[in-house]
């Protein structure tokens, strides 16, 4: 999303009011909302009050100019709207106590100063509540995007290819469960914290993958999902800076996202990592990803996201086909497989071994996977098998495996790529177009559990 006035070329003051409002919306809305929810104890009422405050801001700022501290203005306005709404809405539990607490806060001279340290905690409370395991996964994703990310219900519906009323119902149901079942608004206790943090990271990664996989849907909206997931990832890092996996996830998402523009050509075709135009890679994202991985590694507790990020770095650093680099990648996949075993990781491990130590070594590693009936219809397995057979010089076997992979492919872009490889094998038989399926995030193939699951 860009910081522009909604009305385009309005008068200068109107434009600057809208610009300021959009900036505050992005930077401070979640914090204002998070604190207000703690006071009023009701997601919907707090969200409505914050929405009112932004609408009032546009009108007032256009008329009177943008205040010196727009964030503080929004905070106060949202609180007063919440007081009005609490006075009217008799269905809120403990209404009198909540109203009294808000009025007390409103009478303090610098209310936001006195509770500075609470604001970070409030944002964490909000994230943990939206990602509470008592909500189902689609509800967690939707609620996080709506409440923490500030996306509209319509935007979320378009990104997830459901109708707006369907998405609206999903969000309303989640909010109702929070109220009725009393899902607590708090940072989990120490003993449950690690599991709950993993749960939050999983939601963020799901949002990212939904945007990144781009198999269908509006590409623009999907790009916004990636941006939103990275924003959420940064927020989690800021709030829980001593959690290495939060930094690992931020790194992983940034490194994948850096290549977003280069992954698909003008015709929508999939471009393998080796063939990508590196000038299209986003240097800023790569820098952020590398920096985040450094932060994670310094904390000294490896985890699946960190390992996947390290693998992404290794893939991006190596132009060409250096076996030493593949040996490093194989080592990282080995470590990942020990922490978070999955067929996808095992498959990528076998591929890396094949590229590092020779196709026969890779094929040996692939053997048990090929005999696993659960993976019989798993297209990437057969595509990898074909590639290793080709390298081992078994053209007949490779052709058969490519045909199998093509038959299993459900995606036109992917199928075209496999056709191209099969064709180059049967006609030219030259060593071109090395593919690296590995460079996809491990969560992308939806049938399998991603490495970071």
């Amino acid at each position: 999303m860009t910081v522009t006035g909604r009305n385009g070329r309005g008068p200068w003051s109107a434009d600057s009011a809208a610009t300021a409002a959009v900036r505050v919306f992005h930077n401070e809305r979640a914090a204002v909302l998070a604190t207000l929810i703690r006071y009023v104890g009701d997601f919907q009422l707090a969200e409505d009050a914050v929405q009112d405050a932004f609408e009032a801001a546009l009108a007032t700022w256009r008329h009177d100019g943008v205040p010196e501290n727009p964030g503080a203005w929004i905070t106060v306005a949202a609180r007063r709207r919440a007081i009005d709404r609490l006075r009217r809405d008799r269905s809120i539990s403990e209404r009198a106590e909540r109203l009294a607490a808000l009025l007390r806060l409103d009478q303090q001279e610098h209310p936001s100063m006195s509770e500075e340290s609470e604001i970070g905690d409030d944002r964490l409370r909000l994230i943990f509540t939206c990602c509470h395991p008592a909500l189902d996964i689609p509800a967690r994703v939707a609620l996080t995007l709506r409440t923490v990310g500030g996306l509209t219900t319509g935007e979320i519906a378009r990104a997830f290819l459901v109708t707006e009323p369907t998405m609206g119902k999903r969000i309303v149901r989640a909010k109702r469960k929070i109220v009725d079942a009393r899902i607590p608004y708090r940072v989990p206790a120490a003993e449950e914290l690690p599991g709950r943090v993993r749960g939050v990271l999983r939601v963020v990664y799901l949002i990212f993958n939904e945007g990144y996989s781009a198999s269908e849907g509006d590409r623009l909206v999907r790009g916004e999902l990636c941006d939103e997931a990275i924003r959420l990832g940064r927020l989690v890092c800021e709030l829980i800076p001593d959690e290495p996996e939060a930094w690992g996830l931020l790194s992983l998402m940034s490194l994948h996202d850096a290549r977003r523009a280069a992954r698909v050509d003008e015709l929508g075709g999939y471009v393998t990592l080796a063939d990508q135009d590196r000038s299209l890679w986003d240097e800023g994202r790569i820098g952020e990803g590398t920096h985040a991985l450094g932060r994670a590694v310094r904390l000294g507790r490896p985890g699946p996201y960190q390992l996947q990020a390290a693998i992404a770095v290794a893939h991006m650093q190596a132009a060409g086909d250096d076996p030493r680099n593949w040996a490093r990648i194989a080592e990282l996949y080995g470590a990942l497989g020990r922490l978070a075993p999955s067929p996808v990781v095992e498959l990528n491990h076998a591929t890396a071994i094949g590229f590092a130590y020779g196709a026969d070594a890779g094929l040996e590693r692939l053997g048990p996977l090929l005999n696993d009936p659960a993976l019989e219809r798993y297209q990437p397995l057969h595509a990898t098998h074909a590639e290793l057979l080709r390298r081992a010089g078994d053209v007949t076997g490779a052709v058969r495996a490519y045909e199998r992979a093509i038959a299993l492919s459900g995606n036109a872009v992917e199928r075209a790529e496999l056709d191209r490889r099969l064709e180059s094998l049967t006609t030219a038989r030259t060593q071109t177009g090395m593919s690296r399926e590995l460079s996809k995030p491990a969560g992308v193939p939806r049938r399998s559990s991603g490495a970071a699951g």
Partner: protein, 124 residues
């Protein structure tokens, strides 16, 4: 503090098997129930007779229909319940996970509506 209904569902088995399981887990149940009582969370609890003893009641168009058996025939049956008074869902879920049934069946946690929160017009 809201009350939570903790419903214990176990796989349907023949009665002998059920009794054997019940006796085997008995020390765990006694310990669990005693600890909930001491913590001041226990409102009510009880094991249920098997579903063969259940009768389902429906009134349709003023006629009372009785059906022999449980509301729905499923692989898992309601075998017992606790009513716990907890601060929030997390506390209720924590205790639900301690139920031996959680390991071989399922435990459903449902908040009980607080009658005082129903608007005055809805009350007698």
């Amino acid at each position: 503090m809201p009350d939570y209904m903790v419903l214990l569902y176990t796989p349907e088995k023949d009665e002998d098997e059920r009794q054997t399981d019940r006796w085997a887990d008995m020390p765990l149940w006694l310990e669990l129930t005693e600890s909930l009582r001491k913590a001041g969370l226990l409102v009510a609890h009880g094991p249920l007779h098997p579903v063969t003893a259940a009768t389902t009641v429906r009134v349709r168009d003023g006629e009372t229909e009785l059906t022999d058996g449980p509301f729905a025939a499923t692989k898992e049956v309601l075998a017992g319940y606790y009513v716990l008074r907890c601060a929030d869902l997390d506390e209720a879920l924590h205790h639900a996970a301690r139920m031996p049934t959680a390991r071989h069946g399922s435990v459903e946690v449902r908040p009980i509506m607080d009658m005082s929160e129903i608007p005055a017009s809805g009350r007698a």
